[in-house]
């Protein structure tokens, strides 16, 4: 499997408009894979994030490290290739011809949350009461941000409790993929919601007055959604008493790990304007959290078709080609020019979009991966992508 028509420009890690070529930039990605303990891949859905995470993990194993990749929602054929057909929540080892070890696992949000509850519960009785509560089951499956948070919790767990040299995580393909940065705050806010706090601690004199109002309010709410639902929620908050602190501390430590120098964030995008806008948004969010993006990987880049090379620079090239197509209209050559103009338009648009993003990731290496002939769905396919991501090594 090779890049389709590896025409000049794309796919060698220095896109014409993605900033000047930095010597050794590809060693940058390889260096991260060789040295860091944690690599997080983020980006919006449909940009090849899962594949990129798998490629990085494979490279880790090739470099002799014991590596695990945690994926969220791999396409079925890739999941099969990685031995992830069953959702076990435990890493499984992938055999192959590399000096290190490659393990893969799929994130199971619920079992990760369950484990977290067991860890923080003061007694088995408390954890069973929580795990059996209907409201808890809803939280662990449906509360927005839970999946994002659990991905990071799993990352922390693997980091602390296992002997993996490198943990690579894929983030959920949602628009809110970076919500895990807020997860500690979000979760605390939820668990400490005043409405339920006053309900579960009715003894305090100060809250008594509030309590009456809250009761009235809840009665009205239960008229809308039914009393069972409220009863379940109250039972949950009562069962959870005393565990918030442990949860919050854990969440703080997870965020410390994310900001640690041994952790690297990679941004994955495709050269379309909307996904690059998302990538820029991610970069900004990470920057707010004090986290630098250490690599930008852009998948599915069109070849340059001569844009930005040759005499006269890049600017008017597609237009010049289009003009030529018009003069030659009706001939085979005219149609060939028309087609070339189409693709030059795409190529120059992609390069403009990329140039806009390069600034947002500052000095981080930008790696362009061209259109591949087929979707990546096996180890050979991952190796082919690795050829682009780690080209300096491969060459």
């Amino acid at each position: 499997m090779t890049g389709a028509n590896g025409v000049t420009g794309a796919g060698r890690g220095r896109g014409a408009a993605a900033g000047p070529s930095v010597p050794g930039e590809l060693a940058g990605l390889a260096a991260l894979t060789a040295e860091r303990r944690t690599i997080v891949c983020c980006g919006s859905g449909g940009v090849g994030k899962t594949t990129t995470a798998a490629v990085v993990a494979l490279e880790g194993a090739r470099l002799g490290r014991k590596t695990v990749v945690v994926t969220i929602d791999p396409a079925k054929r890739l999941a099969d290739a990685l031995g992830l057909a069953g959702l076990t929540g435990e890493p499984s080892r992938i055999d192959g011809d590399w000096p290190g070890e490659l393990w893969a696992m799929m994130l199971d949000t619920k079992s990760t949350f369950d484990a977290l509850v067991r860890k923080h519960a003061t007694s088995d009785e408390q954890s069973e009461r929580i795990l059996g509560n209907r409201f808890y089951r809803n939280i662990s499956e449906a509360l927005s941000g839970t999946q994002e948070y659990m991905a990071m919790e799993k990352l922390y767990e693997l980091h602390e409790d296992t002997d993996f040299d490198l943990v690579v995580v894929d983030t959920p393909p949602t628009r809110h993929a970076l919500d895990f940065l807020d997860a500690p705050r979000r979760l605390s806010r939820f668990l400490e919601h005043r409405l339920f706090r006053v309900l579960v601690s009715p003894r305090s004199g100060i809250v008594k007055a509030v309590n009456v109002a809250a009761q009235t309010f809840l009665r009205t709410v239960s008229r809308v959604i039914g009393g069972d639902v409220i009863d379940d929620a109250i039972a949950f908050f009562q069962a959870f008493e005393g565990m918030e602190e442990g949860f919050r501390e854990r969440a703080v430590r997870v965020n410390e790990l994310l900001a640690a120098p041994s952790t690297a964030f990679l941004l994955v995008a495709s050269p379309r304007r909307d996904t690059l806008d998302e990538a820029r948004y991610f970069a900004d969010r990470l920057a707010e959290a004090g986290i630098a993006v250490e690599g930008l990987i852009v998948n599915r880049v069109h070849p340059s078709f001569g844009v930005g090379v040759g005499e006269g620079g890049s600017g008017g090239l597609p237009e010049a080609t289009r003009a030529r197509a018009v003069t030659l209209e009706g001939t085979d050559l005219g149609r060939l020019y028309e087609n070339l103009a189409d693709f030059q338009t795409v190529a120059s648009r992609e390069r403009e979009h990329l140039a806009g993003l390069a600034g947002a990731v500052a000095s981080a290496p930008v790696v362009l991966v061209p259109f591949l002939e087929t979707d990546v769905h096996d180890l050979d396919g991952l190796a082919a992508v690795a050829g682009y991501l780690f080209a300096a090594d491969a060459g």
């Binding site: 028509n5 449909g46 809803n138 628009r175 939820f190 919601h193 959604i225 030659l328 085979d332 979707d375």
Partner: protein, 321 residues
């Protein structure tokens, strides 16, 4: 079939597809296609930050309708708005004599707690509002730009799930009404969007079967977006073509012309394979929208896609009723 008849099949069309396939673009194109044949159309967005308003040079959409694309002679307007769970809930409570608690429910963050207690409640609030729009016949066609699939399935399943969780009261009634709407083929259908590539095709097939089996919703034609149109003559070698035209090619041009022609032919072959596979695995009529080479996505480009849809609809067989 006649586009008027096509769009009259159901007032509500829910457009679903995974991220990156152009779901919002196709929603806009479908709406514009209906408007071109004179049907008033409303596009409803349920997740903020979509690219829809930008396509028409507008800022963010709000809860109030705007005219997104005014219709010319013989055409109708395309309007657009958002529906958010918070606002839908406020409106719902106001309409049901509960305005006293409504503000507090939202501002205290209690809605989040309640929504967690009964997951799907936000989805039901959204779909309940869409149902109300459908019932009020506010437009000839309502295009709902659904959340990205897999969430689309959860989203559309919310009604059934809530009927179990909330057995009485207004939310239960709302869920029942939404389910009636989704299961009524005369009122609602889902149009899936995909692109002719392996993983998106696999996911479209999976989503289609899940939607039919688990939601019981009727599927309209599937839109295959980003299809490379054929250009004749790309098989001719550039050097031969230049000789035939009596033109001398500049340095590098021959290679660039050949590379672009090879790329196009190659992509087209791969796409045809995937389209054929989609047809084998999913017995739904297909509508194709072309890959756009233009630099920006604006009203002119939406029109190109809308006309491609109308052409596709024109050659569809009459739907069985």
């Amino acid at each position: 079939m006649d586009p008027g008849r096509f769009f009259a099949a159901s007032r509500l069309v829910i457009v679903a597809g995974k991220g990156g396939v152009g779901k919002t673009t196709v929603s806009a194109a479908l709406a514009r296609a209906a408007a071109l044949v004179g049907l008033s159309t409303l596009v409803v967005e349920v997740e903020g930050r979509s690219g829809l308003p930008a396509m028409f040079g507008r800022a963010e959409l709000g809860y109030d309708e705007i005219v997104l694309s005014p219709g010319g002679v013989g055409e109708a307007d395309v309007r657009a708005r958002t529906v958010t769970p918070d606002e839908a809930l406020l409106e719902y409570l106001r309409d049901h004599g509960l305005s006293r608690i409504s503000k507090r429910l939202v501002s205290s963050g209690a809605l989040d707690v309640v929504a967690t207690a009964a997951p799907g409640i936000k989805d039901i609030l959204l779909l309940g509002k869409v149902k109300q729009l459908e019932r009020s016949e506010t437009a000839d066609l309502i295009v709902l730009d659904a959340p990205a699939a897999g969430h689309a399935i959860t989203f559309l399943q919310s009604a059934r799930g809530l009927l179990d969780a909330v057995r009485v009261g207004p939310i239960n009634a709302q869920a029942r009404d939404v389910l009636d709407l989704l299961e009524d083929h005369q009122r609602c259908q889902v149009v899936l969007v995909t692109i002719p590539e392996e993983t998106p095709v696999n996911e479209a097939v999976e989503t289609a079967f899940s939607l039919e089996d688990r939601v019981g919703v009727s599927l309209g034609p599937i839109v295959v977006n980003g299809v490379h149109p054929d250009i004749d003559g790309l098989d001719v070698d550039p050097a031969d073509a230049a000789r035939a035209a009596g033109v001398r090619l500049r340095d590098g041009e021959e290679a660039a012309l050949r590379a672009a022609a090879d790329f196009r032919r190659h992509r087209r072959d791969l796409q045809r394979e995937q389209i054929a596979r989609l047809g084998d695995q999913l017995p739904l009529p297909q509508l194709w929208t072309p890959f756009l080479f233009t630099a920006a996505l604006g009203p002119a480009e939406v029109d190109v896609l809308a006309r491609a849809l109308l052409d596709g609809i024109g050659v569809l067989a009459e739907l069985p009723t």
